[in-house]
């Protein structure tokens, strides 16, 4: 199959706009229904990984009845290979704050939080300055809304929305059962909208340029642009805003070092795509085009032929093993067994057929684990073991 999509660079997110006061003022004057409709028609989907339509999320929260509601910006950014949210909060924090305020107005929240990972503590002071300035303006226009930063303390799983609520409530960051979903029962049991940093920045773009402008970018089911965090074996690591829907082939053509053997799309919890599948893989949300479509929080890690895929998988599994909250058995024991298992095969203590058993274990975890962490270990595990079977054994 010839790839039809060229890489299309875009520049919305980091474009410095000095009119956030106007954008906010205008949005506060509009009818709530109006903005929700506009967001829905833009087809903006969450950029934190799960890809839930943002307009619908806001709509559900606005319809929920409660004496108190919250808007939370998820800045826990812990997925290996992701580093775009920090850049947004450093360079254009006012876009995120504006979108939070607009959301608050629509759903009826008076309080917002930014859950900032402990590793980004050095950002806190500057971000607080931006928030102070923002509060000052809200005060001026008599808009009752405050934002507070809540610091994380080094736990990847707290990026999972319900674990994040638990953490903010002063508990261990252990994910809850869903449903109920956050828009019904979130932080403190109240209806809560939780959005990724980048999602909120896109909302700003839509408020400023209109839904159509956003919708016209990207491809069917995957509209708009996305920030990609590019790292690994590439001559130009960094953060790039690209239209969704590109083929992995074109991506590697642009970012590879000429010897790319595989690309990990979506971080450790994403998929590994080997060279032979580059041309069939498109980067976007599910249900698009032909071939494989890969949803992604934007982490793109390139590996060239000097890398051992066994080491890569071992590194991921160690990560999951340490970051599993330990609450449910499939994940707690599964992550452990998968890592011990591939080591045993590598050392020749187990026959290569043992890998098949491990693949079944990963499948079981996908079905039985309580949250996205345990459920998605199978993504990288199966895609690496299937495609680089020999490297696992010899």
């Amino acid at each position: 199959m010839e790839s039809i999509h060229q890489l299309k660079r875009a520049d919305f997110i980091f474009r410095n706009e000095n009119d956030w006061e106007k954008i906010l003022g205008n949005a506060l004057k509009r009818k709530n229904q109006d903005i929700i409709k506009e967001l829905i028609s833009s087809e903006l989907k969450g950029r934190g990984g799960a890809g839930f339509p943002t307009g619908l999320k806001w709509k559900f929260a606005s319809e929920a009845e409660a004496d108190e509601k919250f808007i939370i910006c998820n800045a826990d950014e812990g997925e290996p290979g992701t580093f775009k949210d920090r850049e947004i909060l450093t360079k254009v924090p006012y876009k995120v704050l504006t979108a939070m305020a607009v959301c608050a107005n629509i759903i009826g929240a008076k309080k917002g939080f930014i859950y900032l990972r402990g590793e980004y503590k050095f950002l806190k002071e500057e971000l607080n300055k931006a928030i102070d300035e923002f509060h000052y303006y809200c005060n001026e226009i008599n808009f009752d809304f405050t934002i507070k930063i809540f610091m994380g303390s080094g736990a990847y799983v707290c990026g999972e929305e319900t674990a994040l609520f638990e953490s903010m409530e002063g508990k261990r960051g252990e994910p809850r059962n869903k449903p109920p979903f956050p828009t019904i029962k979130g932080y403190m049991g109240k209806p809560t909208v939780i959005n990724n940093v980048e999602t909120l920045a896109h909302v700003f773009t839509i408020l400023k340029y209109g839904a159509k402008k956003f919708y016209d970018l990207g491809v069917q089911y995957s509209r708009g642009t996305k920030l990609f965090s590019v790292s690994g074996d590439t001559p130009k690591p960094g953060i790039y805003e690209l239209e969704l829907g590109m083929s992995l082939q074109d991506f590697v053509y642009e970012f590879g070092d000429g010897d790319t053997k595989a690309v990990q799309v979506g971080g450790a919890s994403g998929f590994l795509v080997p060279r032979k599948n580059f041309k069939d893989a498109a980067i976007g949300f599910k249900g698009k085009l032909t071939g494989i479509s890969l949803p992604t929080g934007g982490s793109m890690m390139l590996f060239n032929s000097s890398r051992s895929m066994f080491n890569v998988l071992d590194n991921y599994l160690k990560f999951f093993r340490e970051e599993s909250c330990g609450q449910c058995t499939p994940c707690r024991v599964g992550c452990q067994q998968l890592q011990m298992g591939i080591k045993a095969v590598k050392r020749g203590e187990k026959p290569s057929s043992y890998l098949t058993k491990l693949l079944r274990l990963a499948e079981t975890m996908q079905l039985a684990a309580k949250c996205g962490l345990g459920q998605s270990v199978a993504n990288s595990f199966s895609s690496i073991v299937d495609n680089f079977h020999e490297e696992m054994i010899y």
Binding site: P80, G81, K121, G152, K171, G232, M301, R307, F319
Partner: protein
């Protein structure tokens, strides 16, 4: 009141005395004390009136809330995939050589602790490390030596 009690009282005055106040209070104690002693956890429980086991349960979940006394400067070297590929081991070796301690240990003068940590979010500038809240990226053994020497001098060492 002993200094820990005073510190916890001050933190509770700022962050409140509710269950939701625990994490900011714990973070505040670690920032000052470099770890959470049993005493401080019990004191927090008393101050906000919840079972000490709840404070302990929360505290032990988070990797940045150490229950072991750390040095004045906590060095956290990223060990996730890209940093590993781009020379994390040499970085770690250099630090260990300079400080003459092993991974996980604290120097006898209580100034430095070396730890590994998961993805710091600097993969495009790997390898990376944190010293307390400060980030250092694109590390090489030479660069690490320079950075560490400046910290050692800060302490009037060498």
């Amino acid at each position: 009141m002993n200094p820990i009690q005073t510190l916890i009282k001050e933190l509770a005055d700022v962050h409140g005395r509710r269950r939701e106040s625990i994490l900011p209070i714990l973070q505040g104690v670690v920032e000052q004390e470099k770890y959470l002693s049993e005493d401080s956890m019990v004191e927090i429980a008393r101050e906000i009136d919840i079972p000490a086991s709840d404070v302990y349960g929360t505290a032990t979940f988070y990797s940045f809330l150490e229950a072991k006394k750390m040095g004045k400067y906590v060095i956290r070297v990223c060990k996730t995939i890209t940093c590993s590929m781009k020379g994390k081991n040499q970085v770690l070796l250099t630090i260990q050589e300079m400080l003459k301690i092993k991974l996980g240990d604290t120097t006898p003068d209580k100034r430095f602790t070396i730890l590994e940590t998961n993805c710091l979010g600097w993969c495009h500038k790997a390898p990376a490390m944190l010293i307390n809240d400060e980030v250092y990226t694109e590390l090489t053994p030479e660069k690490v030596r320079e950075i560490l020497s400046s910290y050692m001098k800060k302490n009037g060492q060498i």
